[in-house]
Symmetry: C2
Subunit: 775 residues, 2 copies
Amino acid sequence: MKTSIKLPEETSWIIEESFFNPEWLGKYESIMCLGNGYMGQRATTEEQYLNEVRDTFVAGTFNKFDAKEVTELPNLPDLVQMKIKVNQESLDLTQGVISDYSRQLNLKTGELSRSFNWQTPGGADLSFHFSRFVSMDQLHVMGQKVTVKSLSGKIDVEIVSGIDGQQTNSGSQHFSEGEKHLFESRFMQMTSQTTQSAIDVVQTTVHQFSIPVERIKSRIEMRRRQIYTNYWLTLDEGEELRIEKLSTIHTSRDLEHEGRALKVIEATALSELKGAEKKGFDQLLRASAAAWERKVWRIAPIIITSSNPQDQVALNFAKYHLHVMTPAHDNRMNIGAKGLSGEGYKGHTFWDTEIFMLPYFTYTHPEIARGLLEFRYHGLHGAHRKAEGNGYEGAQFPWESAWIEDGETTPVWGAADIVTGKATKIWSGFIEQHITSDVAYGVNQYVEAVGDQHFLETKGYEIILDTAKFWASRLEWDDETQKYHINEVIGPDEYKEHVDNNAFTNYTAKWNIQKAIGIYEELEVSQPALLAQLSQKLDLERVYPEWLDKVAKLFIPQPNQELVIPQDDTYLSKKIIPLTSYKQDEQVGTLFHDYNLEQVNNMQITKQADVLLLIYLFENLFSEEVKRANWQYYEPKTMHDSSLSLSTHSALAADLGEIELSYDLFKEATNIDMGPSMTSSDEGIHAASLGGIWLMTVFGFGGVRALDGQLRINPHLPKAWQELRYSIFWHQNELEMLVTADQLIVTNKNQVSPVTFTSRGMEYTVVDSVTVSLN
Amino acid sequence: MKTSIKLPEETSWIIEESFFNPEWLGKYESIMCLGNGYMGQRATTEEQYLNEVRDTFVAGTFNKFDAKEVTELPNLPDLVQMKIKVNQESLDLTQGVISDYSRQLNLKTGELSRSFNWQTPGGADLSFHFSRFVSMDQLHVMGQKVTVKSLSGKIDVEIVSGIDGQQTNSGSQHFSEGEKHLFESRFMQMTSQTTQSAIDVVQTTVHQFSIPVERIKSRIEMRRRQIYTNYWLTLDEGEELRIEKLSTIHTSRDLEHEGRALKVIEATALSELKGAEKKGFDQLLRASAAAWERKVWRIAPIIITSSNPQDQVALNFAKYHLHVMTPAHDNRMNIGAKGLSGEGYKGHTFWDTEIFMLPYFTYTHPEIARGLLEFRYHGLHGAHRKAEGNGYEGAQFPWESAWIEDGETTPVWGAADIVTGKATKIWSGFIEQHITSDVAYGVNQYVEAVGDQHFLETKGYEIILDTAKFWASRLEWDDETQKYHINEVIGPDEYKEHVDNNAFTNYTAKWNIQKAIGIYEELEVSQPALLAQLSQKLDLERVYPEWLDKVAKLFIPQPNQELVIPQDDTYLSKKIIPLTSYKQDEQVGTLFHDYNLEQVNNMQITKQADVLLLIYLFENLFSEEVKRANWQYYEPKTMHDSSLSLSTHSALAADLGEIELSYDLFKEATNIDMGPSMTSSDEGIHAASLGGIWLMTVFGFGGVRALDGQLRINPHLPKAWQELRYSIFWHQNELEMLVTADQLIVTNKNQVSPVTFTSRGMEYTVVDSVTVSLN
């Protein structure tokens, strides 16, 4: 496959674009995106190209374009762009001669850099170096540095740079034209307001030049939605020009600005930028890199000794993006399915968070995990509205969430149906209901691993009880079977719409109600006052007896004679077609070039792990034989047309001891964004897939799982890996695992308490260190 | 000056781009724009380029983005774009090798064509030919034809084409995402609604291929705000592929669709497109060219025999654009200052219409002129609102007009002040008041030339009386001079804000009131019933005596000792600075790179003809000496920083007998759009300048003027012109003038009535033909 992606062997921290291809802009914009959880920015270049998607997002600033659209994360006015002309020729990598080209993202420092020599069509020779960061140290700050050097004679340089508010989300404009200000003849500021949610966004920018100001002619220009300064200067042969552009973004949605007058926010923004300018680009970048080290890399590091050094890059890449995308600073926000790296999925939060990204934070950054779950707690109001609107009780979590007040935000219409030519209705917002038990699962996993009693008592219990209440009200009595059914749903496999008794949905609903029953019964004994309080709020005395009755009569799809658990009531009776060609297709979703969704609905084709995901999440519910039978049945029918799928299969394969198969799937899964498919990340990185890279490593090869509150560590390394070193937090203990082919050494690095775990069926307690033989 | 513009000598109908330069896109998008008064379309190419402005407008479909913006003509979803890939390489004229390039606008047929050979970077050789028109025959129809031929071996061709609703007006999105439909697997339709004015826009498109459908693989795609079909096919060496893309635009604002259900409009749109498809591109283009001939070229043709053949091109160019920009089909609409060719001035109508474009229509297409004036009649309601809002009576016309109900639509904030860095307040909407007498002037000129008694009685009288009523209420009594003043205005010279007694304003206000007095007194005698009716509506019995008093006491700036009429009370006392360098500057407005408006306000610098415009419009008010003295005083101080200025100076110079100077100014004025300045038309063509080309020819060199209802024809040709042949309509008589250096032959071609005119002070009456000696 043709690609310009290079993952240098000598370091595990660099993603490199080795040559420029204007058809692949989206790939690098996404995988090299910068951010700090507060803001995210696609890696568009300073100069513009056709088909670029120049997105900057600030987490939580949702806005709705009009009544027909759902709310989305708006694309902010752009700060990155700098038009550069040399002897009146615009910098453009498709023109003239480019040599020594390299664009690199340094995952460790968060620095995006680019360098090349350019011979202009007119014959001037120059070298360029660009550097950029979004500060992990000061969340509102970003910096750019451009170095231009003339390699041949005197050149005239023109630079136009400022703030460009003509950006849209694929045509939808979310901002009123901003107020533009110039302060002290240098600081440009633009304040834009979102059209519906009335969030003020204050962007401020300033330029510094390495040559004396007397040699620069400049002029301010304000055009529609734009404020620019034009700079003109002349460089001598061999002379180097450095331009630093420092910018800040502040919004009225920021927690620290709540209730503040806009003037105060604007003044704060200007003052923070002045402070940043005093430090200068280099110092700011060093401080940001230090923050990356402090907040990310030093914590629960993973070191893979592999004959494929790119495995380590993949882990670093995943962790980098997990921190770029996650609004760790504000529990009113959550992670978008594309992080802050693209317009795909509109910045909305899905079950991806709980099932695919949350485990990383739960086990390595529990305070961030708590914030993500507090978001769900804030979202209970919207979940009540949704349940009530559908005639149910309790908390029915929205399939897609945006701002905490928004409730359900799933759009109703999607891509064209190739048969009818009409837009396809998106049913997930209506009937993809397992999200509710997924949230409860995420709460439970967090509490089991972290032991955060305070969260449990103030929020966790309530989420699990309230979601159980939804499920109980959701069940439908079936006279014929004398069972409760869950009809008319979509399971994780979205290629099966309007199915009855989706196994994943029924099993996890049952688990959710059972968990609530357990909590009720436990609190009755241990914390009656808390129970009384919860009971009053949630009417538990009425619903608890119903739970007992309903959970006993809930229909749970059982393995058939071939031990296969039916994905739903009709799946196993549907037509089977050969899928190999589609599965081998580089591009996802090509099945729909030949069939429409209705046709696929009637075939045994699974978009993504469904029954197998259930088995992976609840491994102690199923026997080894059932696991294997289902693996063999469903794996060939699974298209992996969702980025949530491969990592599940990889981890499950590892659980089943199919280590080399697991490793093959690991390689495939790590390639979803980092690999050579040059267009599949155009709409943004695949957040769940990046969470999945950590899951495959720590849960899959590392063998970590919490089973009914019990830590299990069953590692098994693929042949390519000589050693795996990773850490997790378990009830505040920092456990470091060193895994080789022969043994597992578990070290409790901070020794908060003795930790008991099982491995290969044996129980161990680690105070300082324990060695488990794996032979 | 570097340019790619070519005006071939052998024909006066072709504007050619002789080589492609991506920095000059805007120039050709504007000057080669297509349209028919219903819709206008910038000449963007099928393939996209950075910095293109892909505008399509439908006259009258105004929408307001939000409360902070003024209403504007929204940029419609784009129909023109076609992505073309050859062996996976995107067609891009900045890549590979281009030869035999030519893009031509045929002014006579309205066909825009483009041809070139392209060697792709990958080495494939192809020839391309593009042709396009917006039908002058069927206002809703446009057509495109693309011909691709492989000159070297087999090639794979991919075409993506449809409707793209991601367009904005420089970032402001005026449409909700459109509903997308595919009919009969071929007809794509998108229905978008403006966000505030709720106008439905229905766009429908279909493709036809010259090769059998079995050889084409296709697939529909609907993305956000986009509907496309993807086509894939393979061409053999030497094989030619023709693609016809035919499209229609209909809107709920169309007169014929008023009150209709959207479904009916959508069905009409589809049916019109099906009818068009039956005819095919070639027949549709022929019908459109025939309509151009019938509606435009055959009517009042102008033939210049000049040693500069480009003079004839300029006339054809001007007439072409005057008909492209003018909504002749609907009197609820008027002409925008940039026609339908760009976002500049937001599609708004200014005094440009009455003073610069209307005369062409009045003298050659009186039915179109009437429609333009009926627009003002429809606008009386808004003019009343504006007067009332300012504490005045009568009709104060908005400085900028959009939809007939809108009233004043001038934006309040403009470009940045280079001294303070703040946006400049635009005062025109508040105090540039001469628009009101300009409208009355236009009505009077139309009535004098056309003799349209019906219009006069139903609308014309009322406009003149109602505007006079405004002026009378607007006058301010000055105790000191015991005169009425008009203080705090902007005259035509917008570089002088907040001045008192601007000569142009005071003179024309006086004329307006006098005209109303005359009407009142005439109707008293001739049509008392009509007067009674008007009197009741306008309270004339009360205001008529006031008019008599006020007009007598209105201060009218008189020539000083040097015979110079003061432009306003303070102009002549202001500082004089040397202007030569700015006047020679290719770019307009460079003065503001050194001074801000406040500074310019305090210098004797005139943006555009002001006193001289007054003299040109009311030549019989001033003696020859006064005219010359003012010419000599004001010409050097006039920056011509408005496209309304040069043509006035040229015509006035001709009046003054300065024929070669007039011709120099004519050449300069015709270059405003058609000339080699490659960026000044970026925001659209200069409508008033194009009207001015006709004015300079017919009023200037042709010497035509109506003075107090009397036709005067005083021609004088520049040396370069051997002969000038032109026609005008005068009270339904089609008069053809043949002018040489020696004589003027006036022929009454349809002889509706004998026509009396003066020439060189002598009176003539033409029944069939009269020859006037010019020696």
